[in-house]
Point group: D2
Chain length 404, copies 4
Amino acid sequence: MKKNIYQAKGHLIDSGLFSKIVNTILDEGLDYSVEEMVIGKQPDEQSVVRFSITSNDEDSLDSILKKISPLGVYTLNNENAKFEKADKDKHAPQHFYSTTNHRTEVFVNNKWIEVKDQRMDAVIVKENETTLRCVKLRDIKKDDLILVEGESVRVYPPQIEANTGGFAFMSNDVSSERRGEIAVSKIATEINEIKKRNGKIVVVAGPVVIHTGGADYLASLIRNGYVDGFLGGNAIAVHDLESRFLNTSLGVDINTGKVTEHGHNHHMKAINIIYGQGSIKNAIDNDVLRDGVMYEIIKNNIPYCLAGSIRDDGPLPETVNDMIEAQTQYAQIIKGADMILMLSTMLHSIGTGNMTPSSTKTICVDINPAVVTKLSDRGTGQAIGVVSDVGLFLKTLSEKLNCE
Amino acid sequence: MKKNIYQAKGHLIDSGLFSKIVNTILDEGLDYSVEEMVIGKQPDEQSVVRFSITSNDEDSLDSILKKISPLGVYTLNNENAKFEKADKDKHAPQHFYSTTNHRTEVFVNNKWIEVKDQRMDAVIVKENETTLRCVKLRDIKKDDLILVEGESVRVYPPQIEANTGGFAFMSNDVSSERRGEIAVSKIATEINEIKKRNGKIVVVAGPVVIHTGGADYLASLIRNGYVDGFLGGNAIAVHDLESRFLNTSLGVDINTGKVTEHGHNHHMKAINIIYGQGSIKNAIDNDVLRDGVMYEIIKNNIPYCLAGSIRDDGPLPETVNDMIEAQTQYAQIIKGADMILMLSTMLHSIGTGNMTPSSTKTICVDINPAVVTKLSDRGTGQAIGVVSDVGLFLKTLSEKLNCE
Amino acid sequence: MKKNIYQAKGHLIDSGLFSKIVNTILDEGLDYSVEEMVIGKQPDEQSVVRFSITSNDEDSLDSILKKISPLGVYTLNNENAKFEKADKDKHAPQHFYSTTNHRTEVFVNNKWIEVKDQRMDAVIVKENETTLRCVKLRDIKKDDLILVEGESVRVYPPQIEANTGGFAFMSNDVSSERRGEIAVSKIATEINEIKKRNGKIVVVAGPVVIHTGGADYLASLIRNGYVDGFLGGNAIAVHDLESRFLNTSLGVDINTGKVTEHGHNHHMKAINIIYGQGSIKNAIDNDVLRDGVMYEIIKNNIPYCLAGSIRDDGPLPETVNDMIEAQTQYAQIIKGADMILMLSTMLHSIGTGNMTPSSTKTICVDINPAVVTKLSDRGTGQAIGVVSDVGLFLKTLSEKLNCE
Amino acid sequence: MKKNIYQAKGHLIDSGLFSKIVNTILDEGLDYSVEEMVIGKQPDEQSVVRFSITSNDEDSLDSILKKISPLGVYTLNNENAKFEKADKDKHAPQHFYSTTNHRTEVFVNNKWIEVKDQRMDAVIVKENETTLRCVKLRDIKKDDLILVEGESVRVYPPQIEANTGGFAFMSNDVSSERRGEIAVSKIATEINEIKKRNGKIVVVAGPVVIHTGGADYLASLIRNGYVDGFLGGNAIAVHDLESRFLNTSLGVDINTGKVTEHGHNHHMKAINIIYGQGSIKNAIDNDVLRDGVMYEIIKNNIPYCLAGSIRDDGPLPETVNDMIEAQTQYAQIIKGADMILMLSTMLHSIGTGNMTPSSTKTICVDINPAVVTKLSDRGTGQAIGVVSDVGLFLKTLSEKLNCE
């Protein structure tokens, strides 16, 4: 019978984290015993809980920390973390520590050091005695010092640090029966607050934005300074251009909604115009492209990345076809974002979520409630869902923000 | 080898009906041969096709007419229809003719007579030599003369009579990627045209209208004279009243979107207030209820029916709990409707569709594309789908119609 | 500044209930202070927490108990509950207490008395000094003693009493990406355990069961003794009969999947056959109906109720058209059920959930994940979702239970 | 007033094509007049229709052919096609002809020549006097002779050439209420027929196949010779490997369905194992990977392509990260396919559909009916939808095909 002592500290009770911790322990067939518990008596006080886990099954006991560490649990052993050298490029030691998207500290040289560039599914490399950094498996270099699993990591899920605040009303709220107008108002308020403190807002958007008539409204948000970074794919740009050059989106007339039988080729005409110009940028410089989402992005020097995909037509010259490169650019653009607004694109939303720390406010607008569930299943648990027609959503948001 | 001759007349080609006819014949393993075909050379000209079907399998040949008759096919035999007496109440002869929702004529006394009260899934009763009427199975009286299957029926699917016109753009269009704003504009135009000619518009609505913030907008449509009949269930009335008395809908605050843990009991408080008043009508007369959907309906003397269901709370005094009675009232209210606007309620929409002739313009607004598909599967093939957030849809419609 | 003291006792921490309690308090803008907390040190020990809430806003303070009482919170005042007389039939006093679906005790004559016939959205009537009962608003009689809101109620949400156990894996799990086969196996195991202890299983089913080919499998479950009560509507019976008499379901051939153009009238033929026989029961007695879901239900004397609805055809003689009566029969049939299996019918599932205590294991199988969310939104929070094709689900379940 | 003469030939009536043709004309505000019509009198006879279109609006008249050409309409002018030289790489002449996915002939040197490598959204390059080929915009070389829009193209939509046959039952049938077992049987029969004549079957699959427990069944289909090409992304391979090395899929235990809190990192462990081996292939050769989908694909030398995407982890060494290259490999693998089976992946299905000629039988299995609609909206109109749990679908298919 072996027994280990663990501790967690923070908003354990109101966040429900302690509940998740004990359920995880019980699900593994282990027993726990609370050794000491100091409950935050007022809402702003933190709680501390020290508990032991005992088991005959040493394997379970060894692996339980891996499962409860993402919930904010750590040991009190104060052992320094162990690092092992990568035996070759792109290959971590067998028992490498794989990161969460939560703020993380590692015990090195008898001190807790915060890890830089936090993101999920990375390894932690010790660059020097005081610098630890999240690195993707593929970016490991031979002889990099890689953190291995052990008892020297402390993870801070966002709930442990503070309450989720005014947006809590929408948490896990992906029902399509809730009032869309209210959600828009709250998001507008939040956006205004972020911009007041010079915060950063990144938009991730799919082509449905164009099909549903949201293009002019999204363009107005950009023109009015509400967008500091833009992530999408080839398709949203193609359909934005199609709508500017040929007044259709996927062959559907933007103004009348009339479907042109094989008006589908309109998007090819748009691509060919850009190919003739050499790039979207050239088309703007040559006064060929005069408005729309891509126009505003480029004209206002908004950092952006159009990531390629297997289903692309063209692709446009500005589209980044190498996925490694596209992921690098995406990661650069979201750096330091206060809010990410994901508009009707599961693919790019999951891609973005993968590289976003859990402390970033993330809002996901889609007519399909399943998209938010899936985003959350993939680790972006902080995403707040708004089930709505994205075109009408952008119209209302643009109005609430008084965009011109 | 037996051979029968059939004919169809009308917009056979542009409507695609002739295509459906020959495919139905081939699917049954039968052969056809076109005997004569006169094609409408201009768009407004009708076509006539005469064709024969031959088969060794007499059973298939006997039953094929049942399958192609709803597509507008009839024989040229000019035999008078056969009627059989009902042997008892509520029981049709074994081979009774079951109606479609399309305009229907029957050959009686060497003349084609149009059937009254057309609806689907009824029998046709000969009231006298010149009057035929659709009657539900359950309303059959002993000795009623019931039309039996045979060769003396002519059905006019709506496509055979005219093109579907300006709404065609949305036919079978249940994709959530289409632009909601355009759909609203077209519907507003159509509503204006109907009201200009003193036409009749019936609204069928579910409680999601209230939850999504559409109540004030729907109330404004009623107040401004755009609604001539209202069909719903107990729930939309309960939640409308809850929002008036307690400012919540299903316990969700109408203005802030905040969910009250077990604010669910608010709807019970609302019901109790009405129980105390005796009825919604009394609550209005006593100045207890002063606005909202139910207020406008009753204040403006709009004919309405709230049909009960197994999931009702209360139910409200105005709710009709006997389903036979509720169906009777529904049927009365839709009589002569030019447009039926179905708002986020599959149950009541299918119920209404069951008793509506196919010539009535039917629009179905729901955030879930599957609802329109299901409505169409259940026989209401004329329904045009708009996939949208119903709250934002009503807001936009109310604005386009300049409602105050 | 006013201050009240509250207590909760049970599985507060592992269940997450205490987290919900403090968040509810904070959402109301109130402050709390933990006075004393005894944490269950081992998994099977209960916790006790005593805390105070203070506020300048007496209204909020007065209403907070209503919001946290469903989470298991009560006062220590030991005041006897107050009851007020109903001033007339069907009308509760203004501040009547509206029930949850959780086990409830009321403090009467200095003792906690458990309420009988627990269900949500009822009032509590004091029948005599030792008997309290849930009664629907509409069943209130003049002079009934109705419990009013106050501090003398104690509610036991299921989480407070025990862990959710082996089914936890599926809780709130409505993702369609999880493995259906595993869910079926767990349900089969659970069903076997319930039947071993002579427990009661009720099935609620919609017509999709027939359309998707599940009829024979559901019939086999009934024949093999796994179903102790059956709830549905007119439609599942009609399509079951249609499939037996005419080999189609909604006009779709059961064996070939071929759609018969207007084979839709087949269900009317089925209804007419039953109308001719007088009832489904007669059709069985007369050897006209020889197998299927309705056959097995009636042959095996399974208590059942077919509730009418506004969209019914017929309806069948066995269908209960008065909704008050149908709700009464439903409530009778689910009494004492250990498991309710809800198969692809939102309407009847919500109807059933409304009258089911939260302690009843409830499983909801539907191809649409939104159905489970909606059921839970409507108060049936204990429902576990399985997203699956219900036909294939029943086939697999029937196999796992070795049904013949 | 200008007037043009057009003709169409083939299964115009039963296919509904002529209906679409005249509706397209009317939607454009043009008039038509049927000059001559010879109707196929028997089912296997083709029809011929010659008609004129007149208009004052020459622009509409000029553009109408573009809209009706994809429906099989052509002129009788017998003018030779015009080709223009590309002025630079990757740039077509302004009025280039953009292809459909239907078989296409071009009139060159007074002869109709069939275009090679048919796919949608391509240009047609004249390689020499007798060879025309579909080329993507990006593959155009300076001085390539590119077909421009005009009157010398003849398109053969699949309906014009033959009836859709035994699968018609499922066409446009994306309702989740239809019987899954029947669909599986029909597909199994079709697969057997294709394999009997040594036909080619390509599978496109997403990671949901693994999550829903379909991996062993898909592996058995490959092992038993039913799969001749495999298209997917990085994710299906990662989760297949995760399930083989760690017995979980996305952290969910394959056998028990239990979710491991942050078991999500399991997929990173799987990637690291492959990184250590250098490739999936090496892992098989070194006996590290011994079964599963990727094992069977590589062991049986099935041509495959894993296309990268912005949301990939790793990616695996075998994943193709450059989208241009991935599209090239995809196109190579589907060449000559008789059937493409698309399993729960919208991204790769649309990508595949984009390059597939419309004559290829395409089946799309997904639990979400919207996926098939979207695939069809994107031009893959021939796709037949099966709404089902893909895990249970593959289990049943594997059984019907007697896979070991």
